[in-house]
C-alpha cells in the first residue's frame, strides 16, 4: 500500500468516530446546540442594556458560533494527544505505520464537520431568536474566508498538539488559559480594532481574529466602520498563516515526538 493511500485511510479512520460518535448520544448534540445560546443571549442583553446598535447583536451571534471551532481546536485537536496519552492510546498511534499528521488531519476533518453542526445551529437559532439582520453581498468571498479561517486555526491546533506530547496536566491548564484571553484579543464579541492597531495586529497571529473581522464585513451591513483591515487583505494574510501553521505543525510534531520519546513522556500518565 502506498504511503498516500495509507495516510488517507488513517485520516478517514480518525475522522470517522468524530463524525459519527456524537450522534450516538443525542443529548450531547442538544447540549452543544442550546448551551452556547445562554452565553450569547447574556451578551446580547448586555449590549441592549447599553443601547448598542443592532449590528452588535449579529457580532455576538457570529462570535458565539465561532467559539465552537476554537473550543474544538483547543480541546479536541491540541489537547487530544494528552487525552490519548491518559487513556493509553497514544503508544498505539506511535506503533502504527501512518504519519502523525494524517491522524491529526483526520481529527481536524471530523472535528470541523461536527463543530460546524454546532456552530451553524447556534448561528441559525441566534439569528431567529434575536432577529439578526444579515446582508451577504459576496457569498463566495464569505465562504472562502470561512474555510481559510478553519484551515488556519486547525493548522494552529495541529501545531499545539505537538506540545501536548510532552506536557502533563499543564496541557489542560494551557487549554483553559487559551479561552477567555483569546476571546479578548481576537475580538469574539466586539470589533477587534477597539483594542488599538498594535494589539489587534499582535492578536492577528491567531487566525480567527482576522477571520471574524472579515466575516463581519461580509455579513453585516454598516459594519465597515468597525473593520480592522479590509477583508481582502485579511484573506491573503490568513492564507499565509494557514500554510505557515501547517508547515510548523509538521516540524514541531517531529521534534516534540523525539523529545517525548527521549524523556520517556509518551506513556507517562497523571503528571
Amino acid at each position: 500500500m502506498s504511503d498516500w493511500l495509507l495516510n488517507y485511510r488513517a485520516m478517514v479512520g480518525r475522522a470517522y468516530p468524530r463524525i459519527l460518535g456524537p450522534w450516538r448520544e443525542p443529548s450531547w448534540v442538544l447540549f452543544d446546540i442550546f448551551l452556547p445560546l445562554l452565553g450569547i443571549a447574556a451578551f446580547i442583553f448586555y449590549y441592549r442594556s447599553m443601547g448598542a446598535p443592532e449590528v452588535f447583536t449579529g457580532f455576538v451571534v457570529l462570535g458565539g458560533a465561532m467559539t465552537a471551532f476554537w473550543i474544538n481546536v483547543l480541546w479536541s485537536m491540541a489537547a487530544q494527544f494528552y487525552w490519548e496519552k491518559e487513556t493509553g492510546n497514544l503508544q498505539l498511534y506511535m506503533l502504527a505505520p501512518m504519519s502523525r499528521m494524517a491522524v491529526l488531519a483526520g481529527m481536524a476533518v471530523g472535528g470541523m464537520f461536527f463543530t460546524s453542526v454546532r456552530a451553524v445551529s447556534t448561528f441559525v437559532l441566534g439569528f431567529l431568536i434575536f432577529n439578526v439582520q444579515i446582508q451577504v453581498t459576496e457569498p463566495l468571498a464569505l465562504m472562502a474566508v470561512f474555510l481559510v479561517t478553519l484551515i488556519a486555526i486547525y493548522g494552529m491546533g495541529m501545531m499545539f498538539a505537538s506540545l501536548y506530547l510532552v506536557w502533563g496536566r499543564g496541557a489542560m491548564n494551557f487549554s483553559t488559559l487559551m479561552q477567555e484571553p483569546i476571546y479578548l484579543v481576537s475580538g469574539f464579541y466586539f470589533p477587534v480594532r477597539q483594542l488599538g492597531f498594535w494589539v489587534a495586529a499582535a492578536g492577528s497571529i491567531i487566525p480567527i481574529t482576522l477571520g471574524l473581522d472579515a466575516m463581519r464585513q461580509l455579513m453585516f451591513a454598516g459594519s465597515d466602520v468597525f473593520a480592522f483591515l479590509t477583508w481582502q487583505f485579511e484573506l491573503v494574510v490568513m492564507v499565509g498563516l494557514a500554510a505557515f501553521f501547517l508547515l510548523l505543525a509538521r516540524f514541531s510534531l517531529s521534534y516534540m515526538e523525539n523529545l517525548a520519546k527521549r524523556d520517556g513522556r509518551l506513556t507517562l500518565r497523571w503528571q
Binding site: 448520544e25 448586555y46 442594556s49 452588535f56 488559559l177 477567555e180 484571553p181 479578548l184
Partner: protein, 284 residues
C-alpha cells in the same frame, strides 16, 4: 466534629496540590488570574465600544464590573465542585477509594471546594484593584458596608457550594455530561441573575426565572454593600426592596436550595451505588 474538620482540611490540601503543583508558583499565579481578568476585560471592551468611557455611565459600569467580578465564584467554585467527581472517578480513578474511607464524602467535596474559593478570592481582589486603579471604578472604601458584605459572602458561598454538591450528585449518574452541566447551569445563572445587566432588560418570564434563583439576591446584596451610597440599588430591578428584605429572600432561597441539594445528592449517591456507577470510567 473533629473528624469532619480533619476531612475538610485534608480534602482542601489535596485540592490545593491538584490545582497548583503541576507547575512553578509564578506560572500558576499567572494562569489563575489571566482567565478571570480577560473575561472581565471582554465586558469592559464591550462597554467601551458603545459608551466610549467608563465615566459615561459610571453607575452601569460599576454594576457590570462588580456583578461580573463576584460571579467568578459561581463559575469557578461550581465548576470545581462538579469536576471533583469527574476527576476522581475518571481521571485519577480514586473515587472508590475515597468512598470506602471512614469519612463523610459530602464534607470531602466541600473541602475540595476550599482551594477554588481561595484562588477565586485572589482573582477577584486583583480584578477589583485593576478596576479601581486602571479603569476608574468608583469604590469608596470608607462607605462600603463591610458587615453586610461579610454576611452576604458567607451565605452566598454556602449557597454556591450547595448547588455545586447537587450538581456533583447529578454527575455521579452521567457519563460525559459534566462539562455540559457546568456550562448550562453557569450560563443560566449568567443570563437570568442580572450579573452584567439589570434583570429588567429580560422578558417577563426571564425576570421570573431570575427571581427564583438565590444568586440574583446575592449579587444585589453584594453590589449594595460594595457600592453603598452610589445609587446602585436603583439599577438592578429590585429597587422596591430594602437590604434587609433582599437578605431575607437570599436566606429563604438558600435554605430551599440547601434542602434540594441534600436530597439530590443523597438520591444520586444511592442510585449510583445501586447501579454500580461509582467506579465507572468512560475514557473521557
Amino acid at each position: 466534629m473533629r473528624e469532619q474538620f480533619r476531612t475538610l482540611k485534608y480534602a482542601a490540601w489535596l485540592g490545593w496540590q491538584i490545582e497548583s503543583n503541576w507547575t512553578k508558583p509564578w506560572l500558576f499565579i499567572v494562569y489563575s488570574i489571566a482567565k478571570p481578568i480577560s473575561a472581565t476585560l471582554i465586558l469592559v471592551l464591550m462597554y467601551l465600544v458603545i459608551l466610549s468611557s467608563s465615566l459615561t455611565r459610571p453607575d452601569i459600569f460599576a454594576f457590570m464590573f462588580i456583578g461580573n467580578a463576584f460571579y467568578m465564584y459561581v463559575a469557578q467554585v461550581l465548576f470545581g465542585i462538579v469536576m471533583v467527581i469527574h476527576e476522581d472517578r475518571e481521571h485519577y480513578q480514586t473515587l472508590k477509594l475515597i468512598y470506602i474511607a471512614p469519612i463523610s464524602f459530602y464534607v470531602y467535596i466541600l473541602g475540595r471546594a476550599v482551594p477554588k474559593i481561595v484562588i477565586t478570592t485572589i482573582a477577584i481582589l486583583i480584578t477589583l484593584a485593576f478596576g479601581v486603579f486602571v479603569l476608574g471604578l468608583d469604590i469608596n472604601f470608607a462607605t462600603v458596608n463591610w458587615a453586610l458584605l461579610a454576611l452576604a459572602m458567607i451565605v452566598g458561598l454556602m449557597c454556591i457550594c450547595m448547588i455545586g454538591v447537587a450538581l456533583a450528585g447529578v454527575s455521579f449518574l452521567t457519563a460525559k455530561h459534566g462539562m455540559g452541566i457546568n456550562e448550562g447551569i453557569a450560563g443560566m445563572f449568567y443570563l437570568f441573575c442580572g450579573v452584567v445587566f439589570p434583570i429588567t432588560v429580560l422578558p417577563q418570564w426571564g425576570q421570573a426565572v431570575g427571581l427564583g434563583i438565590p444568586i440574583t439576591y446575592w449579587l444585589e446584596i453584594v453590589r449594595r454593600a460594595v457600592l453603598s451610597g452610589s445609587g446602585v440599588e436603583n439599577i438592578g430591578g429590585l429597587q422596591s426592596y430594602s437590604e434587609t428584605e433582599i437578605f431575607l429572600f437570599l436566606l429563604i432561597s438558600c435554605a430551599l436550595f440547601f434542602a434540594i441539594s441534600l436530597a439530590i445528592f443523597r438520591y444520586a449517591d444511592r442510585l449510583a451505588r445501586k447501579k454500580g456507577k461509582l467506579d465507572m470510567t468512560t475514557s473521557y
